[in-house]
């Protein structure tokens, strides 16, 4: 017999797999019999085909089903839980009850859909937050070089997310596991746009940028785009703006570097950076490091850019960290000693690698210096918390209302049980109803989401789109959310209702016992959450008001700030004299740009770091900042600019001076140490935002320090003409410098954007929770009033007044709301106390905030409940008593 003269194995396998065991023997036997017969007639191949073909016909449910039941098993088939006609009946009943109790259905659906929409929104938000920088193909092997400074005796290390020019190339050269590096430095460059000059943020980077990161180029070669020193890569938006077309390859752009405009050739046009990227660039230039800079070893201590490295996939990041620290210790050995001697630095720098994907949500090592969208995981947590609150409250409503309403359905349940409905069937029915409601709510929630997404984007500073939803994981999350909500809201009622005794319910003597505790507990929980959020909102509100209205210690009204980088003394003088010709301009004071800080020695050895302000004598009077002791700079003392400084009160306190005037400040860190005498003490004022403490501050007029901006004080209500005057003068004097202005008081408000955001989010959350709690309460009040119609009728007949009945119906609920404060207020106190600790200048937690919250909650609850109770109290007792 040739080896193949038997039926195909796979066909037999299929047969054995898919045939009901009781049929297998004879069917397979028949098939084999035919096979051997056919083999003799038409040959092996044909017979095998026929055999397979015949087997395929057996692969149907008919042959798969188990043997018919044994004769001794029950004659009555046990109905399946999901019998079709029963399902149809469930659906009909569900729709009828929903249609019958419109108020109840609407409350449930609206509440649930708001809760679901909030939860969806937050899922969307969190997903976006955690998706930051994950689109790079080189993940998870991309890292950023960061470092921490550890000072002996100091517990908390100082974190540094920036690096200098050395770390990238030197670490890469010495570590075989590092494949390549990219430095990324943020700059501000002037760019010619037609006839105008615009100041534009640019980034300088290494040629490997496009190999390391996944930013696709529309045109140009990613490998060579940044190799030529006079090349530039622009984003498609920038190309559109600059050239009016995206086909910008090879075009020339004039960028001001080294004090003059130089032509740069566009070597690539990049697609717009994804929304969830920490790196967002419009203009990329090749980084240029001069030979001298690279030879200077103290550049190890100059940190001003971000360095990213790509590790080999098999590399161990801990081992690489050890290697780079070794390289640093060897290469920078002399400099470390030198610097320690020169500046008295005691701290030790330890380099580490931060995975690129962790950057966005890191609190210790945040994104900065050109990297954007710094965020804090706290936002995600708080938002998720609020969404959970809202969803929970909506579910509580559902449970409460379903149970409260169930008395009406007790008869239905009784009848179902009497005619043979099992408990599991009832559970399925009620769960099914809750899922039906949930499904409707889900659809509504999606609509709601679409509606509020634009507003939310604005609030959260995001560009989320509904298209984000079309993601497998997110969809799974939403379906999970749907199932969870349905189960959460429907499970308890289903179990309770299905447990009714049919005899009791049909005799209509049915009363809940013990159930009230749960219902009351849930109301208390609801209102605890709501009043917690009210207190939180009130606190954030008043802290925000405090921050934005507190006197900063200077006058920021009618002050226009105009930037002009490297403004020379004579230029500043010229600008001032030109501006003063206009009657609407009161005064002009130049100052350095940005925040400068430095370190100096006082009392001989003590080192002090402080904010370092370069001003002239007009600065303090212009801002109405008082000089407490001593005097301001003055033109009467020409030596002021080279010998004298002013300091603030914090400086004096830190230095420990009893008699500050005449004390010496030693700028030892300069090439040739410079010594200055203190000639006056300035009253502390908030030169930084109020969420930071006032630090020591020192004012100098040192001629070598360039100014960077001017403050122009204008007469009130002369904004239009003053701004025109400033712009004209500026353009006349500095035709190739970019002109931009801002009002100082508006700038100051911008510092509290994060608080403003918190305020809005909290307000939003509080309103939602209160709203949903209230509609729940409204539903319960309605049902309780309905249940007590007879009682109310009798009371009225016996002479009860409307107000006493309203009181009777409302007091129950109000007591519960009052009880909720017991839980809410301690929790709220703890939370806001913790939050306020972030602010050195903060409001006191006061009792009135809690009193106000309590009053608010009670008032809202009272209005909600009284709406129903008044209606019930006003109804005609004849009607309610006659109806049976």
């Amino acid at each position: 017999m040739p080896p193949k003269s038997r039926p195909p194995r796979w066909a037999d396998w299929l047969l054995e797999r898919f045939l009901s065991p009781y049929l297998l023997e004879d069917v397979q036997g028949d098939l084999h019999e035919v096979f051997y017969k056919r083999m003799a007639q038409v040959g092996v191949t044909r017979a095998r085909h026929e055999y397979s073909w015949a087997v395929l016909h057996y692969l149907s449910p008919f042959f798969f089903k188990p043997a018919p039941s044994e004769p001794n098993s029950s004659v009555y088939p046990s109905p399946s839980l999901l019998n079709l006609s029963m399902l149809r009946n469930y659906l009909t009943i569900a729709l009828r009850t929903l249609a019958h109790n419109k108020a109840y259905s609407i409350i449930n659906v609206v509440g649930l859909s708001i809760g679901l929409a909030a939860a969806m929104l937050i899922i969307l938000y969190t997903k976006d937050e955690v998706s930051y920088d994950r689109f790079h193909a080189n993940n998870p092997n991309l890292y950023r070089i960061t470092s921490r400074d550890i000072t002996p005796g100091d517990q908390k290390p100082g974190y540094n997310t920036n690096t200098g020019i050395f770390q990238g190339p030197k670490f890469t050269a010495g570590t075989p596991e590092i494949l390549s590096f990219v430095r990324f430095q943020s700059n501000q460059h002037d760019i010619k746009q037609g006839n105008e000059v615009k100041s534009q943020e640019t980034f300088s980077t290494d040629p490997e940028f496009f190999q390391l990161f996944s930013f696709p180029l529309l045109s140009g070669d990613p490998k060579t785009a940044l190799t030529h020193p006079k090349s530039v890569v622009v984003s498609e938006d920038m190309a559109e703006k600059q050239f009016g077309t995206r086909e910008a390859l090879g075009k020339i752009m004039f960028i001001k570097t080294n004090e003059q405009f130089e032509p740069y050739t566009v070597s690539g046009v990049a697609k717009k950076c994804p929304q969830n990227s920490s790196i967002k660039f419009d203009i990329l230039l090749p980084i240029t490091i001069s030979k001298e800079d690279f030879a200077q070893s103290d550049n190890w201590f100059s940190f001003f850019l971000n360095t990213f490295v790509l590790l080999r996939p098999d590399a161990d990041s801990k081992a690489v960290e050890a290697t780079i620290n070794r390289i640093y210790q060897t290469d920078a050995k002399n400099t470390i000693v030198e610097m320690a001697k020169k500046f008295g630095i005691k701290s030790k720098t330890i380099y580490s690698l931060q995975p690129l994907t962790e950057m966005h949500l890191s609190t210790d090592l945040p994104v900065n210096n050109g990297l954007v969208d710094e965020s804090s995981p706290a936002f995600s947590y708080i938002l998720s918390g609020i969404a959970l609150f809202v969803l929970l409250i909506a579910c509580i409503n559902f449970v409460n209302l379903t149970i409260a309403r169930s008395l009406k359905r007790a008869k239905e349940i009784g009848v179902r049980k009497v005619v043979g409905g099992g408990r599991s069937q009832l559970v399925v029915q009620f769960l099914g109803e809750s899922f039906l409601l949930c499904f409707v709510a889900f659809g509504l929630a999606i609509l709601l989401l679409l509606l509020v997404l634009p507003t939310f984007n604005q609030l959260a500073n995001k560009a989320l789109s509904f298209m984000y939803l079309l993601d497998i994981k997110l969809m799974a999350g939403y379906v999970g959310l749907f199932l969870m909500t349905g189960l959460l809201a429907g499970f308890y009622p289903a179990v309770i209702l299905s447990g009714f005794s049919p005899v009791q319910s049909l005799y209509s003597r049915f009363r809940f016992t013990g159930r009230n505790y749960l219902q009351r507990g849930l109301i208390v929980l609801q209102f605890s959450l709501a009043s917690f959020l009210i207190v939180a909102t009130l606190t954030i509100n008043s802290q925000f008001n405090y921050l934005t209205t507190k006197s900063l210690g200077y006058d920021d009204s009618n002050l226009v700030s105009v930037n002009k980088s490297s403004l020379k003394r004579n230029e500043a003088r010229l600008l001032k004299s030109e501006l003063m010709k206009f009657p609407s301009i009161v005064d002009v004071a130049p100052k350095n740009q940005g925040f400068w800080g430095t370190v100096a020695k006082v009392n001989g050895e003590k080192q002090l770091s402080f904010a370092y302000e370069t001003v002239d004598e007009t600065y303090l009077p212009l801002f109405k900042i008082p000089v407490l002791t001593g005097r301001n700079f003055s033109p009467d003392f020409p030596s002021d600019s080279t010998q004298s400084v002013l300091v603030n009160e914090s400086f004096v306190k830190e230095a420990g001076w009893k008699n500050p005037i005449g004390q010496e400040v030693n700028f030892f860190a300069y090439e040739t140490p410079e010594r200055y005498k203190v000639i006056g003490v300035v009253k502390d004022y908030h030169f930084v935002a109020l969420n930071q403490k006032i630090r020591p501050q020192l004012f100098t007029m040192k001629p070598k320090n360039d100014f960077g901006k001017v403050f122009v004080k204008i007469k009130p209500h002369t904004e239009t003409e003053s701004l025109r005057a400033i712009e004209q003068t500026f353009k006349k004097l500095f035709p190739i410098s970019p002109y931009s202005y801002s009002f100082l008081d508006q700038d100051n408000l911008k510092k509290y954007e994060s608080e403003a955001k918190w305020k809005q989010i909290m307000l939003f959350g509080a309103i939602l929770t209160i709203f949903i709690s209230c509609i729940g309460l409204l539903g319960l009040a309605t049902l309780s009033a309905e249940r007590r119609t007879k009682e109310i009728g009798i009371r009225k007949v016996l002479g009860a007044s409307v107000s006493s009945i309203v009181q009777l119906l409302s007091s129950d609920f109000l007591r519960l709301v009052g009880f909720s404060f017991v839980f809410a207020f301690p929790a709220a106190y703890y939370a806001i106390d913790k939050w306020l600790e972030n602010y050195p200048y903060r409001i006191e937690i006061s009792a009135w905030m809690f009193a106000l919250a309590a009053l608010l909650a009670i008032l809202i609850a009272f209005f909600t409940v009284s709406f129903q109770s008044i209606r019930a109290a006003l109804s005609n007792p004849v009607k309610s008593l006659r109806a049976e």
Partner: protein, 112 residues
């Protein structure tokens, strides 16, 4: 009274089982079908019908008659039950009655 409906194919298969008189099982029934009616039916269909008939109670089955070519597997041999033979007779009778009600000549005319 519930009348069990017998489909056309079911009727033929039932008849075949009756003809084979205790020797009917999957292979013989389909062979006989092919031989006498010229119909070629898949094996699964025949089996399907036999099982259906058994479920309806028209035939009963026993296992037996294992042979070497079947790999030692037993056959499921079908036999017509009393209910089955009554059903066949009823059908036969019904047809007979209906034929007799036919006015003479009608069929012959229409067949022209």
């Amino acid at each position: 009274m519930r009348r069990t409906y017998l489909g056309e194919f079911e009727e033929i298969v039932l008849l075949m089982v009756a003809i084979l008189d205790g020797d009917g099982y999957g292979v013989t029934v389909s062979q006989a079908l092919e031989e006498h009616t010229g119909r070629i039916v898949t094996f699964g269909t025949v089996h399907n019908t036999l099982i259906r008939l058994e479920e309806k109670g028209f035939v009963s089955s026993d296992l037996g008659g294992a042979t070497a070519e079947r790999g030692g597997r037993r056959k499921r041999l079908f036999r017509v039950t009393a209910l089955g033979s009554r059903a066949l007779q009823e059908i036969q009778q019904l047809r007979q009655e209906l034929w007799q009600m036919l006015p003479p000549g009608t069929l012959r005319l229409s067949s022209l």
